[in-house]
């Protein structure tokens, strides 16, 4: 099995691998690292989803307010509001509370200005798809993108797009410089293109932002 064949089956890859896939993973360190990175990203993505759950304190505060209004009564040994334990008369409160929380959640979310594409990036499946879209990128760029995705998933798309732009610049500048090695302007294009790539790497690896 070649790396290309392995990457083709990567999106469908679960925990169980075929003998052929296992053998390839044992013999190919690049694919093995890729699978390991994707597993880590997937794990982190699930953690992020868990973080978005409202804390018990939120439910507790709602319960306290409802009790103060006399809308629910004391139930021994139960301090939190759990929808299944409410009487049928109060069940309407659950969707109402959820709707209010979602409404204010959206307001708070908009205030923070999270880009629309972030949710997609934070899902493990999104990361796998995005990785496959980086076909043709140098392996060091792939490693850089995986490193960015593991640290700040929301920035991965930006880095990928900009690496593509810089690589296109380098490609054209190299061709231009090869066509006429004495052309000073072509040499300047090349210097500028590499300066840009260096900057992208420098920013991606900037420890102060980690």
């Amino acid at each position: 099995m070649t790396c290309e064949e392995f990457e083709r089956v990567l999106p469908e890859l679960g925990n169980d691998h075929s003998i052929e896939q296992d053998e390839h993973l044992k013999s190919c360190s690049a694919c093995s690292e890729l699978v390991s990175d994707l597993s880590e990203i997937s794990k982190q993505g699930r953690l992020l989803q868990a973080c978005e759950e409202p804390s018990p304190w939120v439910w507790n505060s709602i319960e306290v307010a409802l009790r103060q209004e006399g809308l629910i009564r004391e139930q021994p040994g139960n301090l939190l509001v759990h929808p299944p334990r409410l009487s049928w008369k109060l069940r309407w409160l659950v969707p109402a509370a959820a709707a209010s929380l979602i409404f204010f959640g959206v307001l708070l979310h908009e205030r923070g200005g999270i880009p629309q594409h972030q949710a997609k990036q934070e899902s493990p499946a999104g990361v796998v798809t995005a990785d496959l879209q980086t076909e043709g990128m140098p392996s060091e760029d792939m490693q850089l993108l995986n490193s960015v995705a593991a640290r700040t998933p929301s920035m991965r798309d930006a880095y990928e797009q900009n690496l593509r732009a810089v690589n296109a610049y380098i490609h054209d500048a190299e061709q231009s410089a090869n066509n006429d090695p004495n052309d000073e302007v072509a040499q300047q294009y090349l210097r500028n293109a590499y300066e840009q790539k260096a900057m992208v790497y420098e920013m991606a690896l900037d420890r102060s932002l980690q």
Binding site: V58, S61, I62, L66, A158, A165, D172, A173, D183, N192
Partner: protein
């Protein structure tokens, strides 16, 4: 009727709770430092805006507003160097890790700002400025007598009224816009972002605007004093100025390159793109 009142009451209570929750998470921290001449001020803020303005005297004040418990503000002062860092805790994202900074520094301070999302804003300073932001919108205005160094990936960069400065801007895909920017050295290096210059090309400086695929538009007055070289390998090149021809190392074909001088040619201007369009425009009076 009673049921409607009850619904209204519960809604109000829940609104108050959620508002209280949001307010409870908002923390405002003020920090003050006494510094000497040309102090070095560094702010690192992964998510959120940083705005820097000049103050009176040798004081630095930093106001940081955070919106969750998932970010801490670390501060340090060593000698003439002040550093403030947003320290993200486990699980912080662009929403919960956001901190808004308002910073006041002495006019001669050297300022370094690092961010991922920004935006970054600096005004009315005379020191050296370094601004780095991956996707951050960068805005620098009314500064002079220092170095202005900006780096972004796709964040747009705007410089307004910058004089007697050494300017260096590198942006991969962010648009770069320079209004009344003059100095001994003004360099812009972009891949796919557009570059727009509207100014005098003054102070006998060296101006270099280069891109890969982004268009370059430079607007100068008819009395500009420049020696200009413009060339695009694949894009169209246009010029509104009557130029005195000049020898170049490459062939100047109409529509793809030109070179020449205007006036006394005090400043040197290079407009280079690989596939972007280039237009040197004369400012309408």
């Amino acid at each position: 009727m009673y049921r409607k009142q009850r619904i209204a009451t519960v809604s109000v209570v829940m609104i108050i709770i959620v508002a209280a929750l949001a307010a409870a998470e908002t923390t405002r921290k003020e920090m003050h430092f006494k510094v000497g001449r040309r102090a070095n001020i560094s702010i690192v803020n992964v998510y959120g805006p940083i705005s820097v303005k000049p103050g009176i005297g040798k004081h630095v004040s930093v106001t940081a507003t955070s919106y969750s418990g998932k970010v801490e503000i670390d501060q340090s002062k060593r000698g003439n160097r002040v550093a403030v860092v947003s320290h993200l805790l486990q699980g912080a994202d662009s929403d919960s890790g956001r901190v808004d900074y308002e910073v006041v520094v002495p006019m001669d301070a050297n300022v370094t700002l690092h961010t991922a999302t920004g935006p970054l804003h600096i005004e009315k300073l005379h020191g050296d400025l370094l601004l780095e932001g991956s996707t951050a919108n960068v805005d620098v205005r009314d500064v002079s007598a220092g170095r202005v160094h900006v780096k972004t990936l796709n964040g747009p960069v705007t410089l307004t009224n910058v004089n007697d400065a050494y300017v260096e801007i590198t942006s991969v895909s962010g648009d770069v816009s320079l209004h009344q920017v003059n100095g001994a050295s003004v360099h812009v290096n972009s891949s796919s972002g557009k570059i727009h210059y509207d100014g005098e090309f003054g102070e006998g400086g060296q101006y270099s605007l280069t891109s890969h695929s982004g268009d370059i538009e430079a607007i100068a007055p008819s009395y500009a004093s420049i020696e200009v070289v413009a060339r695009s390998v694949q894009g169209r090149v246009d010029n509104d100025f009557p130029l005195q021809p000049e020898h170049t190392s490459f062939v100047t074909r109409s529509g793809s390159a030109f070179a020449g001088t205007v006036g006394q040619a005090a400043s040197s201007v290079n407009l280079l793109s690989f596939s972007g369009k280039i237009h040197l425009k004369k400012r309408e009076q």
